[in-house]
Symmetry: C2
Subunit: 462 residues, 2 copies
């Protein structure tokens, strides 16, 4: 049976299995969901065995467990290592969801006329990861698996893959592979398939500015005491210059200028500024001077405040000078920027920005380096050919602004490249309320994956 | 019986009555406390009647009620109008209180060796207001009330006396008086009595900056979209220049330079910079260039952010560009600055500071003009003489940075001056956790007030 027919015959079951997976609130950022994390790991182990893995196990780590599975076909055949994650972002603000984030429903949208599954993790990454399990099921059942396959599904991606490095370092032999295959990114559109060729790195910091040792009456003290919120605002304001360049000294030292031919390539990526602005509801974009929207948001570094708080935030008026003000500030990095080095540069600069009269505490909340892959790679070419087969159109290489910090570590520890063949859309609201994943995308992914295996074995042999 | 003996005989009862008043959480900023507001108003009405008022009533307004009471002694005698407020600041951050903010306890401190009552409102203004009720009780019971007295105790002072103007305009005849007496300020120290001769005005604003129509993934969009928190920070940073002058155009147009002789007077007010810094736990103060700490915090205008919030403020990392960021920003004003005009100047400037790509909403949360009184006034002189009698030392005139916005309105509507004879200390943590009011101060207030009446009648007759 060909894959299309197999999907057609089994689609209801595939969805009902996916729904069961999505119902488990495996939020890694909040320890209250610990038991759900464990349930989810066990569920995936069983799903891998049911799909045809020879063996599967829940591997303990100092944090959330990693699920490992494998199907061995032949010693002389190449090995594909599938990476994905079963943990999800917190659902809050829960009030902004139209339906329960952990009770999946199918609804049609303009971009998803066939319907989309709405749930936390539908796209990022449970839905995309599960496509690989179902593709394996097809290949095993129909005797079409052309090479060995391993699965490594982790539970801490949304909190910076804190313990995956620990796991990889200790299991290099077990994880040995010829190519790593990951679906945790997106395509540009249904009629514009694309393969992600770069990911930005991340440095995520928390800062706290302390002024007076208690909240003060703003009448009695206002004008004579440094106000931590005003100070923090001024410090944040100094992190960008008027051209939206980041002002941290040496921040750009290792950032390479984008070669002209690459820029020309990016300029060809279909992009409508009008639709982009309309989708976000903004009158204008705000890019780094000299760079396009795509360049600014995908291959140039950026700095954003992700949250800020301090003083009285209740209803009405309270006339205080707060004792403290805090912010979460993260930077997206590009290849060659070292996230640890950037943390140190940020910490030094931010601390220096503080005036007399306040103290500053800077803490790292994690991160990882950027990643880039070339298009003259067996894995990239196999993915390109597989997508061309199922989409009827050659995919384009595309940079992505998000981060999967662990991908750089894979290359370092395991010596192999990662193919970022994802099937979501930027508009799928991952990390936001009403996250969803299209049925078209889910089934197209299952359809494409077996071709990747077929072509990879073919290309890799040569 | 003289007042000292009366206090000695009744001090336990005075405190137990005050405790009952402090147990009612009459927070005006939060509508959840509405029923406590009403209970408190009724309690004060009963307390006024018990103290000897001929009549007392709870007067409805469009907001929280005003308690009115009076004791008429003679048509040809002058009338003192006592103003105070029974509402209190919110207690949050509640976690920083050592004891329950609404369960008063007496504890000794370095500055209060006789003990102090710790509770929200202990000093501001329930404790100070209640001194007047007990002083009236003494004068009535002992037949020593030398003139007529009226009470106007409101329930919205901490939210800008929103409806007191409405009440005063409608009750000019009822409120007719020769002098207004208020205890809602402080003295410099036990051995340095002082009378407040000026108050700053207030304009309290709330601002909201909106960028994209939803929280965005900071990887996918970071670098291309204006981040409302970064934008708000930049806007706040632009409200002061490097000399801590406020940059709002025309903000200082009506601010008069302080005359040299007045500055000389301020320079004589006892003040230790070292103790000031030590008390606040700061390495340095931050004043307006060219002005002292006292000048900067009492007779020059100031601008402070009272609260800020936006984006993810929970545990750990969430990589979003928030859709919105907000702040509460208030300005302290000096005589001749019109708070409504300042609101308009702020709104215009702040809106203009916003870049393309965000929208800004500015709302007023109220305010009022500044107030100044001269020392050649019958009321001031009566207060000076009364304090000299009970403290054994002549009080000094002192400017205060706080605001009682309604005082300027009293002068405009009722044509009389307000004497600001308060008994708290700056260090009493009003508006902060662990607010307290010294027993010495409470009883000294009750002791001083009857002398004010006696001397005012004497001086006013001449």
């Amino acid at each position: 049976m060909d894959i299309k027919n197999y999907i057609e015959e089994n689609k209801e079951r595939f969805l009902s299995e996916l729904f069961a997976l999505l119902r488990m609130p495996s939020v890694s950022a909040d320890s209250a969901y610990k038991s759900s994390i464990e349930d989810t790991a066990r569920w995936i182990k069983e799903a891998l065995l049911a799909a045809g893995c020879d063996k599967a196990e829940v591997c303990e780590t100092p944090g959330n467990p990693v699920v490992y599975g494998e199907k061995h076909v032949g010693d002389n055949l190449p090995t594909v290592l599938v990476y994905g994650h079963y943990d999800v972002q917190p659902a809050d603000p829960v009030a902004l969801w139209d339906t329960d984030p952990f009770e999946p429903v199918i609804k049609k949208t303009e971009l998803h006329p066939e319907g989309a599954v709405f749930a936390r993790g539908a796209c990022d990454d449970k839905g995309q990861m599960f496509m690989h399990v179902k593709a394996l099921e097809y290949m095993v059942k129909e005797g079409k698996l052309p090479c060995n396959v391993k699965f490594m599904i982790e539970g801490e991606e949304e909190v910076g893959s804190k313990n995956l490095g620990w796991f990889v370092e200790r299991n290099k032999e077990k994880l040995k592979n010829d190519i790593i295959l990951i679906s945790d990114t997106g395509i540009i559109a249904k009629d514009t398939p694309s393969i992600t060729t770069s990911l930005r790195g991340l440095s995520y910091m928390e800062v706290e500015v302390t002024g007076p040792n208690k909240d003060l009456h703003s009448g009695v003290y206002g004008g004579a005491v440094a106000n931590p919120v005003n100070v923090l605002s001024k410090m944040i304001a100094q992190l960008h210059d008027e051209n939206n360049h980041i002002t941290i000294p040496h921040f750009y030292d290792k950032v390479k200028e984008i070669p002209a031919e690459e820029r020309a390539l990016f300029a060809e990526i279909p992009f409508s500024l009008e639709e982009y602005k309309k989708d976000l509801g903004v009158a204008d974009v705000q890019v780094e001077k000299g760079y396009s929207v795509i360049e600014s948001s995908a291959i140039r570094p950026s700095l954003d405040v992700n949250g800020i708080w301090g003083g009285y935030i209740g209803e009405g008026a309270k006339t205080i000078i707060p004792s403290k003000a805090s912010a979460k500030i993260s930077m997206r990095l590009v290849p060659d920027q070292d996230n640890k080095e950037i943390e140190a540069l940020f910490t030094k600069y931010f601390t220096e920005l503080a005036p007399e009269g306040v103290t500053v505490k800077v803490t790292s909340l994690g991160g990882g380096p950027a990643y880039a892959m070339t298009i003259d790679n067996d894995g990239y070419r196999a993915a390109e050919k597989a997508m061309e087969k199922t989409f009827g159109k050659r995919p384009i290489p595309s940079p992505e602004g998000g981060s999967i910090p662990i991908v750089a570590l894979f290359e370092k520890e395991l010596g192999t490249k990662s193919v970022l063949m994802g099937f979501g859309y930027d508009s799928d609201l991952i990390h936001s309320p009403n996250e969803h994943y299209g049925l078209f995308n889910f089934f197209k992914g299952i359809e494409t994956i077996p071709y990747f295996y077929e072509y990879f074995v073919e290309i890799h042999k040569k």
